[in-house]
Symmetry: C2
Subunit: 114 residues, 2 copies
DNA sequence: TTAGCACTTGAACACTTCTTCAAGTAACTG
DNA sequence: CAGTTACTTGAAGAAGTGTTCAAGTGCTAA
């Protein structure tokens, strides 16, 4: 049990959220939370260059959110932490609430007719 | 009901996570998820300059995550979307899992003796 | 063993985000 | 009304990220 927290907790959290702060990385996590995917499968699903995808996968790997394995000549990625699914769901709920709130605000400001 | 999604959903999600990707902003959201706070209270709790705090609050406001009101000469901030609390909890769980995973990996790699 | 496919890495430049400073607004207070 | 407290804003340079290109690694198969 480690008594020392090397990085302040708030900074660790912030870094964690920044890791999720990229469309391709979100896309990858959503795909992986359905099932494991080979790199070429991700590549088919996401509009992005291979080397760029690799860079983004490296970010997720460094953050410890995904793991890599080799299988029949292909590299297969998987979510390493099951809770990621919950987080994506929570985010979806907030986003829906925020967008709904903005919508309501807009219509209140608009007053019914432009 | 809007049929047009102006910003691709993945990009909206990514932007949302990037909004959370700053230690001061996380700190603010955690404080606000306990109770509403005046700016000067946040300032006492977070080590940051007033103008910097204001900038970060503006980011949260623009993202629609907090709202501002004036009360007895002070500006008071509040969480606008209750689900934020769930998200912070989910994030905490993942972070714990990831850190635990890294810890385990480290000890496996270390193998007991260097 | 050499060729080829599948993927990763390093480096450079463009782009975004942070922090800070100076100036600005807004509501109380005498 | 002038001063004070409380907070926000704009702008500019520093720091950090993202995208792309060229080169590299590691299986697999001929």
């Amino acid at each position: 049990m480690s008594a020392i927290v090397p990085v302040p907790l708030y900074q660790a959290k912030a870094e964690f959220f920044r890791t999720l702060g990229h469309p391709a990385r979100i896309r990858v996590l959503e795909l992986l939370s359905e099932r494991d995917h080979a790199v070429h499968e991700l590549l088919d699903a996401i509009e992005i260059e291979q080397s760029n995808l690799s860079q983004q996968l490296a970010v997720l790997r460094r953050a410890g959110l995904v793991v890599q394995r080799r299988e029949a000549g292909a590299v297969v990625y998987a979510i390493s932490v099951a809770e990621v699914r919950d987080l994506l769901l929570a985010a979806r709920a907030i986003l829906a609430a925020v967008l709904a709130g903005q919508e309501q605000l807009r219509s209140e400001l608009g007053g019914g007719a432009p």
